[in-house]
């Protein structure tokens, strides 16, 4: 679950929506049962949902639930088309960049009114994020917790780096403990580290860090930790804020001058490049969220750990993002939809999501199961919680943020590639984004 603006990638369109069957047949359903369809983008959670809905159908024999997975890369291109065409599912996940337009367009069931009694049991940050016009527009389904740093234990030990206490500082090199560590953690094919003479940036075999144009894992947190902002309270973009531009300049320098992160040619169009490098044992520090925890847990063949987000001049400021399950207001199955939403918002219904470690539920009482699962796996996940800090930067908001981000992404790509100077790029990106917001 990510809120990274939709990346135009072809694999998405290749994979037509993979439709999961409507749960195992042993789930009893009476004749004439209503079928409610639920659309999500996460395979792991879809599996947990199917188990959850089997239980739901046992308790509500007149309702069957079918889970449909639409791949993330394609999700928010297809969603408005399906909404416009009347072919969208009864219940569907929405992220913060996209929910405003649907709420304002009257497409969503007013959950704040219909399920008011449950609202207190959901993560407050999620409720706040998806409240608009004085009410809540969906049941908080998942929350990402805070962004943290996955690290390769062998690599940080070999370099003598403590990943728990790294601070970056754009203006005061003496206060910057992160850059020297990242340079020690970056190696070329001859085994030289990035702080040694003769280091060849054209033949890097081990990256120190994953600086890239990654909204949720990287630049929102760097901007926040530098005291900058991305959006003003009225939603307009503030990319030219000096603190914001300074954070971007630091990131671009990590890529193009310090050579401790993969080149933008690798990462601009391939959002999973860094994760794959980390999993292949070619990256030491990989800053990301709980949405990659299961991927790392399943894919890493080496010892790894989770450290708190890097600290900036303003401390550890993370973007915290949630996802809602929204009800389709145009569907004739309103009563059944509300029952399904109520189930997803209950401790029982949400417990399946956390128990297998698939994702962190936004139902507060169901969260412990998630932490317990990972503890059982020998992974300390406290850095995703308050142990990783408490300060936050607001997640993207407003009905047209998705349009704004698709307008400014190509410009940010050029900034990260080092072809457009940062100050100029921030101005261009802000202008293009604000034009799309209108």
């Amino acid at each position: 679950m990510r809120m990274r603006p939709l990346v135009a990638a072809a694999v998405a369109a290749l994979a037509l929506a993979a439709c999961s069957p409507a749960g195992p047949d042993e789930a009893p359903a009476g004749d004439g049962a209503t079928t409610v369809t639920v659309r999500v983008w996460d395979e792991q959670v879809a599996t947990a949902y199917e188990q959850s809905f089997d239980e739901f159908t046992r308790e509500n024999p007149d309702i069957r639930v079918q889970v449909n997975v639409v791949p993330w890369k394609d999700y928010f291109v297809r969603l408005p088309l399906d909404v416009a065409g009347g072919t969208v599912d009864d219940v569907y996940w929405i992220n913060s960049s996209n929910f405003g337009a649907l709420a304002d367009g009257g497409k969503l069931i007013d959950v704040g009114r219909e399920l008011a009694d449950q609202q207190g049991s959901w993560a407050p940050a999620a409720v706040e994020q998806y409240s608009r016009g004085g009410t809540l527009w969906g049941v908080p389904a998942l929350t990402d917790g805070r962004i943290a740093v996955y690290y390769n234990k062998a690599m940080v030990e070999a370099a003598g780096v403590d990943p728990e206490n790294l601070t970056w500082h754009p203006a005061d090199p003496a206060a910057d403990t992160f850059l020297p560590a990242a340079r020690k953690l970056t190696r070329d094919s001859a085994g030289r580290t990035a702080d040694q003479p003769g280091f060849d940036p054209g033949a890097i075999t081990q990256y120190g860090f994953n600086a890239a144009r990654d909204l949720q894992a990287i630049y929102y947190n760097f901007v926040g930790s530098n005291g900058g902002s991305i959006q003003a309270p009225d939603g307009t973009l503030t990319l030219t804020d000096p603190k914001t531009a300074e954070a971007f300049a630091y990131l671009v320098k990590l890529v193009n001058t310090d050579h401790v992160a993969p080149s933008a040619a690798d990462t601009n169009d391939n959002p999973d490049f860094s994760r794959d490098q980390f999993l292949q044992g070619k990256m030491a520090l990989f800053q990301s969220g709980t949405y990659n925890l299961k991927n790392v847990g399943d894919g890493a063949t080496f010892e790894w750990g989770v450290a708190p987000l890097l600290a900036g001049p303003q401390g550890r400021v993370s973007v915290v993002n949630s996802v809602i399950a929204a009800g389709n207001a145009d569907s004739p199955r309103r009563d059944a939809i509300l029952k399904v939403l109520r189930w997803l918002g209950s401790e029982d219904g949400a417990s399946y999501v956390g128990e297998e470690g698939a994702a962190l539920p936004a139902v507060t009482a169901a969260q412990q199961a998630y932490y317990d699962y990972w503890e059982g796996q020998g992974v300390d996940t406290t850095a995703f919680g308050d142990a990783g800090g408490t300060a936050t930067i607001p997640a993207p908001f407003g009905p047209k943020f998705e349009a704004a981000s698709t307008a400014f992404n190509p410009i940010l790509n050029e900034v990260f590639a080092g072809r457009t100077p940062v100050a100029e790029g921030m101005q261009q990106a802000q202008d293009a984004g604000n034009a799309a917001l209108r």
Binding site: L6, V7, A8, A9, A10, V11, A13, L14, V77, P80, L81, V83, A84, A101, L102, D104, G105, K107, G202, A203, P262, S263, A264, A265, D266, N268, D269, N270, F273, E402, A403, T406, A407, N409, P410, N413, E414, A417, R419, A436
Partner: protein, 290 residues
């Protein structure tokens, strides 16, 4: 009387096709024309805005630029794939052993989904861990370098289309009677002269068909370019017009402006086709007896 009956039968037989053309060609064009006068974000209500979208598109330099980029793309791809396709067809038609297998090989890329091929090539051309760079032993950013992106995308496009072009030329070559070549040989024409004076002129109908269909297809190219270089590529150098329409409709959700762009592209393609039709009509030789 009988004539009227024949006419009726003819229309009856044509009905399925006419229905198809109406439902899948004429109707969508009309819908797009209506959408061009409206503001719609796919989610909210549609509002009539008259010519506002036309004004907005005219003022958007990126659309004009994408038309120029597409024209440049066509100017690279069409000559390259036509010449290469013809060469391949000539070689295949010499009846060498294994020609049949080669014919199949050539056509394979054309029958695969362009998107899948685009994804595959984006792996081959990836700067780190890409097969091509591993082969040549140096790091080249084929798709991320503003200078190389366009030629790389064009090369992949040519590679996918050559087999299709060769297939048609191959069929065209077989339609040329051997007697014509034999007569020319008796008159002492060299192979080179025979190619320029006989083969090429007699291939005109094929050439016309191939050029018209390929120019139209290349002007509308989207999937392979999108798979190789999303977001219009580095500095927007591969921002082809179909990609621009896609971006406007589905990423910006400005359906009205995308509709205007689509109509402009439609009119341009009709114009290109009419010009080609005229040009070839005066020069095409169908009848070998003249």
């Amino acid at each position: 009387m009988r004539r009227r009956q024949e006419t009726r039968t003819a229309y009856l037989l044509l009905a399925p096709s006419l229905f198809g053309i109406g439902a899948f060609l004429v109707l969508p064009i009309l819908v797009v024309a209506v959408l061009a006068t409206q503001r719609w974000d796919l989610i909210g209500p549609r509002t009539f805005v008259g010519f506002d979208n036309v004004v907005a598109v005219a003022a958007d330099g990126r659309f004009v630029r994408s038309l120029l980029i597409t024209a440049g793309f066509v100017a690279i791809v069409i000559p390259a794939q036509t010449v290469l396709g013809l060469v391949a067809a000539l070689l295949l038609n010499r009846g060498l052993r294994g020609s049949a297998a080669f014919r199949v090989l050539y056509v394979l890329p054309w029958i695969c989904a362009p998107l899948a091929l685009g994804v595959m090539w984006s792996w081959v051309l990836a700067p780190t861990d890409g097969a091509l760079n591993a082969l040549i032993g140096r790091r080249v950013e084929w798709l991320a370098d503003p200078v190389l992106a366009m030629p790389s995308v064009a090369a992949v496009t040519v590679w996918t289309q050559v087999g299709y072009v060769a297939l048609f030329f191959s069929a065209g070559l077989r339609a040329i009677p051997d007697t014509v070549h034999e007569a020319a040989m008796l008159d002492g024409a060299s192979p080179w002269q025979r190619f320029w004076r006989i083969t090429l002129p007699l291939l005109r109908p094929t050439t016309f068909f191939v050029l018209v269909t390929q120019i139209i297809a290349t002007f509308q190219v989207f999937d392979s370019v999108y798979a190789l270089t999303p977001d219009g590529g580095p500095q927007g150098v591969t921002d082809v017009v179909a990609g621009r329409i896609y971006y406007e409709a589905f990423e910006q959700r400005a359906v009205g402006q995308a509709a205007v762009m689509a109509l402009v592209l439609f009119v341009l393609l009709v114009a290109v086709t009419v010009v080609q039709q005229r040009w070839f009509a005066r020069r095409t030789t169908y009848d070998l007896s003249t």
